[in-house]
C-alpha cells in the first residue's frame, strides 16, 4: 500500500505553533526499476546510459534520517518536519524491511514533498532547511547536478524527464516574487556521482528536459546562508560500501558527531558546534582518510553561498584523533612520551615505546603539553617538550628529538 507522501515522517508543527523550526527533505534512490540490478552485466536499455541500480544509497538516506531524528534538539532551531522518500533495492529491503514504510522517491512524490517542504520553509525567515539526496547523479557544472529519481530510464519522453536538477532546487528555495521570506539558513547535501556518462550525447539539449521541482520566480536579493556539499567533484564519482553506506555519508556523520567541532561564539555564548566552515574543512580531511582506508579516490566540493552559520550543536567537547611519531625513528625505543596538562599533571598515559606506531588515539579537544624524555640519556638525542593544540578532526605530530 502506497504511503502518503504528504505525511512527514516527523511533524512538530502543531507543537511549535509557528515558531521557527528545521524542515528536512531527504531522498534516497537505489532500486531504480528500469536499470539493471547490481552485478547484472547486461547493457540495459539505451535510456539507462549504462547505469545500474545502487545498493546503499537508500540505506544511507535512512541513516541520515535516523541521525537527524536522534539529534532533533541539536539544531539551531527545533526539528519541525522531516520528509523522507526512499526507493530501496532488494538487498537493502532485506537488510532493513522498514524501508518499505516510506513514500517512494518517484518524480511525483518528490515534487509533492518539495512543494510542501518549501511551503513550510517559507513560513519564516528564521526557519532552517536541510536537504539530502543519495542516488545517481550526472554532472553539468560546478554548481549543478542532475539527480535521478526512481523512474529514470523508463524510455518515456526526454531522457532526463525523471530527473530534477540541483540548481533549480537551489534557486527555487530563494525568496520568490509575491511569496513570504523563506528560511535564510539552508544546507544541502548531494551524495551522488557527478560524472558525465559517455552514452549521453548532446547533453545540453537533454539537460533542458529535467523536471523542474520549482517554478522559479526570480525576485529580490539572495542573502541566504545556503552551502551545498557535493559528495563528488564535477567529473568524478561518489563511492560507497556496497549494501552499507556511502563514503560521503560516513564522513558527514563523523563530522556532525564532532569531527567538525569548533568552540566559538554563537549568539553571545561560546559553544561547541559544527558550522558551515568547520564542516567544509573537516569533510575534506575525513573523505581523504576514508579514501586511504578504503582505497578510493573521491573528491568532495563545496558550493553555493557559503555564509558561516551553525549547523548543529554538540553536547560536549569532541575528541580529536591524534597521530604522532618520533623523529628519527631510531629514537623510538628511547623516547618516553608523556602528555601533560598546563599544570604539568599527566593527562594521558602513553605506552612506552609507542605502540601501535604511528601512535593513534582519540583525546578530548583542548590544549596540552607533550614531552619526550630520552631514557636512558643518549648524546644523539635530546628531551623535548612542546605545546600542542588538539582539535578535530585530526592532529598529526612528529616529535623531533635531535
Amino acid at each position: 500500500m502506497a504511503v502518503d507522501v504528504r505525511v512527514p515522517v516527523f511533524d512538530e508543527r502543531a507543537n511549535l505553533q509557528g515558531k521557527p523550526g528545521l524542515h528536512v527533505l531527504i531522498a534516497g534512490v537505489s532500486g531504480y526499476p528500469n536499470l539493471p540490478a547490481p552485478g547484472d552485466n547486461s547493457p540495459g536499455s539505451p535510456a539507462a546510459f549504462g547505469m545500474r541500480q545502487l545498493s546503499s544509497t537508500t540505506l544511507t538516506a535512512y541513516k541520515i534520517c535516523q541521525w537527524i531524528l536522534a539529534h532533533k534538539d541539536s539544531f539551531p532551531v527545533p526539528l519541525a518536519t522531516c520528509r523522507v522518500l526512499l526507493t530501496p533495492g532488494a538487498g537493502e529491503l532485506a537488510a532493513e524491511p522498514s524501508l518499505q514504510d516510506f513514500p517512494r522517491a518517484t518524480v511525483n512524490n518528490f515534487l509533492q514533498a518539495a512543494k510542501d517542504w518549501r511551503s513550510d520553509a517559507a513560513t519564516s525567515p528564521d526557519n532552517m532547511t536541510l536537504f539530502y539526496f543519495a542516488g545517481h547523479g550526472i554532472e553539468r557544472s560546478k554548481g549543478d547536478a542532475v539527480l535521478l529519481l526512481e523512474e529514470f530510464g523508463d524510455g518515456l519522453g526526454g531522457a532526463l524527464r525523471n530527473c530534477v536538477d540541483m540548481y533549480n532546487i537551489y534557486t527555487g528555495m530563494a525568496n520568490a516574487e509575491g511569496g513570504g521570506p523563506i528560511a535564510q539558513r539552508q544546507v544541502y547535501f548531494v551524495d551522488a556521482c557527478r560524472n558525465l556518462p559517455r552514452a549521453v550525447p548532446n547533453f545540453e539539449r537533454e539537460s533542458l528536459g529535467t523536471t523542474p521541482a520549482f517554478n522559479v520566480t526570480l525576485a529580490g536579493e539572495d542573502k541566504r546562508s545556503a552551502p551545498i556539499f557535493y559528495a563528488a567533484a564535477p567529473g568524478t564519482t561518489a563511492l560507497a560500501l556496497p549494501g552499507q553506506q556511502t563514503v560521503f555519508s560516513m564522513a558527514l556523520l563523523q563530522c556532525l558527531e564532532g569531527d567538525a567541532g569548533v568552540f566559538e561564539d554563537v549568539d553571545g555564548q561560546d559553544r561547541w558546534h559544527v558550522s558551515v566552515y568547520s564542516l567544509s574543512e573537516a569533510l575534506a580531511v575525513k573523505i581523504e582518510d576514508l579514501n586511504q582506508a578504503l582505497g578510493g579516490q573521491q573528491y568532495y566540493t563545496p558550493d553555493g553561498q557559503q555564509i558561516n552559520k551553525p549547523i548543529c550543536f554538540l553536547d560536549q567537547a569532541p575528541t580529536a584523533e591524534v597521530v604522532f611519531e618520533v623523529d628519527p625513528f631510531d629514537a623510538l625505543s628511547l623516547a618516553r612520551i608523556e602528555v601533560l596538562d598546563n599544570a604539568g599533571n599527566t593527562l594521558v598515559t602513553i605506552p612506552w615505546p609507542l605502540d601501535p606506531y604511528p601512535y593513534r588515539a582519540r583525546w578530548t579537544a583542548g590544549f596540552c603539553k607533550i614531552r619526550a624524555t630520552i631514557q636512558p640519556p643518549d648524546p644523539r638525542y635530546k628531551d623535548v617538550q612542546q605545546d600542542w593544540m588538539l582539535r578535530p578532526p585530526r592532529r598529526p605530530r612528529k616529535l623531533r628529538v635531535t
Partner: protein, 407 residues
Amino acid sequence: MSQLSFRTEFHSSELQQLELPVEVRKPNMALVTRTLSTETVDVPPGTYHIVATLPAGVELYERAEVVADKATVVVLRPDPADVSPSESLEVQRYFVGTPVASTLPMAAALGLESLGPSEDTATLRILAGNPLAGDRLVGQLTMGDPGTLLAPQPPPERGIARFVCWSGTGRFVQLLQRGQPPLNLALPISPDVGCTLDIVRQLTGPLAPELHLPNVGADSTLRYYERGLLDQVRTAIGAISFERLLQQKMADPIAAAVGAYMLLRLGELDRLHDWTRNLANMFPWLPDGLALWGEHQARLGRHAEALTSFLQLPDRGLPIFSDGLSYTVDRLRLYSRFPIAGQPPESAGRAPDLLARLQQFADSVDFRKPILTFTGLDPSRPDDELLDPSAPASSELDGLDVLQHMG
C-alpha cells in the same frame, strides 16, 4: 589591555610577503579573534594560543603569555618536523603542498636510453584566440615571439620546471604529455602583470602544472579556497589589503577578480560595492569582469542586468577562473527556462545558444581547480582524449620542452 602582534620567519620572498590568517584562542579553546599576521590585536593579560594555517594546510602554533601594559610578539614557526628543507622549496611545501619527486625516473637516472617513444616527454604551448568567438586557437611560443612570452627560469628545485608568462595575446597555456589528455589552463595575466607556471614532477602520476599569481595574498586565498579552508579565506579577504587591491584595480585586476570571487562565494555582497561593475567596464579584455558583474547582479535580484552581462561573454572569451564559467552556465540555464521581468526580447534566444557553447567546455573542466583547466588538444573543441603515446612527433605538437628546463 595589552598588545599582541605576530612575526613569521620564512626565507622565501613569497612567504615573507604573506599576510597569514591567524586565530587567537583562550585556554578553553574559545576564539578571541581572527586577524592577519601583520595586524596587532588588543587583549587582556593572560594566556593565549595562536594558530596560523598556511595555504598548504600546515599549522603554525605558539602559546603566548601576555602581561599587563607590555606588547608581546609571537613568532610563528613551523614545527621542526614541518620545516622546509630549503628556501626554494618553501612555496611548494607551504603554498602548494604537492610532494615533489626530486629524483629522476629510474631509467633516466641510470642513463638508460628508451628504445621506443618516450613517455616521459612534456611540451608547453601558449595558445591565442577566443574559442567563444569561433577562433581556432593557434600556438604562440617563446622568447622573441611578438605574442605572449613564456620564459624559462632557473629551476627552484629538482623536480620543478619554472616559467614566467608575460602578457600578450595568449589566453591559454597547454601542457602536452604522451598518454595523458592535453591540459589547457587559462592564463591569469593582464597587460601589466604576468604569472609564474611551475611544472612539478609528482611522486606518482603525470607532471602537474601549478600557476602562481604574483599577488601573494590572492594566490594564497585561492589555495585556501581550494582546500576548503573558508575561515582562512574570510580572514584573508577581510583585510584591507584586498579592498586596496580592488581600489588599485588598474594595478592588478586579476588579483582583484580573485577577491571579488571570494566575496561572492562567502556571500559578502555588501563589500563588493561597485567593484564588479568597474572590473567589467574598465577591463574590456577581462572575461571574468562580466561573469562577476553578472553573478553579483543576479544575487541582488537584478536578473535582466545579469543576463545582459553574461551575454557579452563571447566578445571576451572564457573566464580565467572556473567559478566564472560555473556562475555563467548556471545562470544562463536558469534564464533559458524561466522568464525575467524586463528581459530584452533580443536576448531570449541568445541565452540557450551561449549556454550550449559553454556547456561544451564545462563538460571537460576540472572544477576542483580555481583557475579554468580543461582538456583537449584543440582547446576550441574540448574533449578528454589522451595524447597517443605511440604517435610520431608532429610539428603541430611542437612547443617548449619542459623536461629540458626541469631541475
